[in-house]
């Protein structure tokens, strides 16, 4: 009672005062702060505006955020970063490959032979688990170790805030947050890292949009698939002198289709499941700073690369086991894999893919990197293509495009299969590492399910439509 009386007294007193002060007290306060700030600044800051770094920063800002060159430069920077990542990763990937699969794998096989370990245990552990883990390390580590430091260097230098500034308007129109530009570009390296990066978005609604749509950024694990299939199938339909450029255009179109789906899905979500106002945020363009190279290298390797790689390995091991098991356990005269492929084949063909591809996407869920090796292995063992691979359940890749193309054609691939695979590679569920990360970040099964299922629905629709149109013409 006593407390209530005290409060009422104070409330009445404050209300009276508010009448006197007027209802623009907040503005008065803000103005007061600003004029204090400016009078203090005048007394203590001596600014030599003729200094040249001052003008250099502003000049750089004018170019990087200009209407004319802003987008062009962004595209160029992105292209260079991706090119360095993909090209630069080839060498270390090759080295890791020859070490883990070319040297250690045969040594382990010999060891298990001399120890007399039964074939099924040897196959399960070495051909299944070890193979998948080694594969993921060899193909995943180098691109991430190159992409993340470059991304962090751009961040340290101050370029990334300018990217957000440039794309802010577009995202706003889609009902999303301007900083989603950054999580989207992070996704081109790795979707799991892109999902973690959404922490920079304060509003939960817009953060969910950024998380759900991150999968539409073509990640490091999918670029090689796109390039391989485009080179074999799409480059082959045009005269040889144009084949390189054509396949490149095809891959870039897929990446842009991904950007389109990012905006489209953001727009769709912000008008249906995630309705709400776009939150305003002040975007300060920090000064350009020379990045600390070695420190950046260290932190981005530890903070991003190693964590993501570890998660991928944890998921790859059981998947390797499953891949080996379904190819080696027979029911009747056929393996589980073959039964499943036969079962999925009709539906696969209907949407312009096939049973092998659908099964590969189910079992290779830990990492997009092992989809192509799984497809090759399943094709060879299901169709009995002679002369390729090293046995049921053992993933492999071929050095020459010619051989790969021969295997895939033996599996019944056409140009339509290739195009739809490229589309499906863009539009399917995120890898299990990303799904796990989404759950970690949202702690919600509902949104984790939406983020996993929505892309696959898009993928099935798009592939079905393309197949129907293709068959009409």
């Amino acid at each position: 009672m006593e407390e209530d009386k005290k409060f009422d007294q104070l409330f009445e007193y404050a209300s009276n005062l508010r009448w006197k002060v007027g209802d623009d007290f907040h503005d008065q306060l803000t103005e007061g702060i600003y004029s204090d700030a400016s009078s203090i600044t005048k007394r203590v800051v001596h600014d030599d505006q003729s200094h040249k770094t001052y003008h250099f920063d502003r000049m750089l800002d004018k170019i990087l955020t200009s209407k004319k060159y802003g987008f062009l430069i962004m595209g160029l920077v992105l292209a260079i970063v991706l090119w360095i990542t993909i090209e630069g990763a080839n060498v270390p990937s090759g080295l890791l490959d020859s070490l883990l699969l070319g040297t250690i794998y045969p040594a382990l096989k010999n060891l298990s032979l001399s120890l007399g370990i039964p074939w099924w245990l040897d196959g399960f552990l070495l051909d299944g688990v070890y193979m998948a883990v080694a594969w993921v390390i060899a193909v995943m580590l180098p691109p991430m170790a190159i992409f993340f430091p470059m991304f962090t260097l751009l961040e340290d230098f101050g370029y990334l805030p300018r990217v957000a500034f440039n794309l802010d308007g577009l995202f706003k129109r889609a009902g999303a947050h301007g900083k989603q530009a950054l999580t989207m570009s992070m996704g081109w390296g790795c979707n799991a890292a892109g999902v973690v990066a959404t922490r920079i978005i304060d509003s939960p609604r817009e953060r969910l949009i950024a998380i759900i749509t991150n999968n539409f950024s073509l990640c490091n694990g999918r670029w090689p698939t796109q390039i391989l299939i485009a080179t074999i199938f799409i480059g082959a339909v045009v005269p040889e002198s144009f084949s390189r450029i054509t396949s490149m255009v095809a891959v870039i179109s897929i990446a842009f289709l991904g950007i389109f789906f990012t905006f489209f899905t953001s727009w769709l979500l912000s008008r249906t499941m995630l309705k709400g106002e776009v939150s305003t945020f002040s975007l300060e363009l920090p000064p350009y700073r020379p990045p600390k190279f070695w420190k950046t290298l260290y932190t981005s390797l530890i903070d991003r690369t190693i964590i993501v790689l570890w998660r991928a390995i944890v998921f790859a091991a059981p998947a390797g086991a499953v891949i080996w098991l379904i190819s080696n356990i027979d029911i009747g005269s056929l393996s589980i894999a073959s039964h499943t492929i036969n079962f999925l084949d009709d539906f696969g063909i209907l949407i312009g893919l096939n049973g092998v591809i659908l099964l590969a996407y189910v079992v290779a869920i830990p990492a997009n990197e092992i989809v192509i090796p799984t497809i090759l292995m399943l094709t060879v063992s299901h169709f009995g293509v002679a002369g390729f691979g090293s046995g049921d359940g053992v993933m492999f890749e071929l050095d020459s495009y010619m051989d790969t193309s021969r295997v895939l054609e033996a599996g019944g691939w056409t140009l339509l299969t290739a195009i739809n695979l490229m589309l499906f590679s863009l539009l399917h569920n995120p890898c299990s590492t990303t799904i796990y990360t989404i759950y970690q970040e949202t702690k919600s099964w509902k949104w984790t399910s939406v983020a996993s299922i929505l892309p696959i629905i898009f993928g099935l629709i798009v592939c079905f439509l393309v197949a129907q149109v293709w068959r009409l013409i």
Partner: protein
Amino acid sequence: MQKQEMPEACETCALNNQSRLKKLGVNVENTDFVIALAGNPNTGKSTVFNALTGLRQHTGNWAGKTVTRAEGAFQYNDKRFKLIDLPGTYSLLSTSEDEEVARNFILFGRPDVTVIVADASRLERNLNLILQVLEITDKAVLCLNLMDEAKRHGIEIDDRTLAKDLGIPVVPTSARSQKGTAELIKVIYQVASNEIKCKPHRIQNLKKDAKEAINNLTARINQLYPGLPNSRWVAMRLLDGDQRVLDGLKDGSLLS
């Protein structure tokens, strides 16, 4: 034999100072003082945090910043300090999640010292937050960071006059190259142990009516709720019609 006094120069020598500093990393048990680290984004707040605690919290706001507050500790002159890295904000007056975390901690976490990290080359913009923090706390230190960058831009700052105007110690630093952090630690220690008394700047450029209203209401609050910290801030929030502060007073959650 007469005890020999240590020469003057050693007292202010950075190396001497550093030898008394022990970075304790994440070991935040049994600390004597709690220090809050506030500041605008992109002022090198996390760099200062890392320099004091020896931790390697990721710096940079754009790709994977830590939204939850980070904690670390260091020891200086036998006193243990817990350091809380608050989210970087431009203001404390709005309702975004980051600002609320920072504001509530400074108000109700009752840190012994609030260190405000500011970008020396953008002082005017940073003063907005600095002045707001000074409204809600009595013990603060201004860490004028990125001095190297300001110099590169041809900006000079009279830090003595600034300290006088703000009523709190000002320490110029370049935390990326560890410059000035030793001095910063010393000043934090001195403010925490009341060796240095702060007389923080309060907002001056207000209309007469508003000033009077704040003063009268503050007096009334102190009379009705003696012991309520930050009564001046509560008065300003009430004049602003902040419903949550009203509720906090009514249900007593603001008083505990």
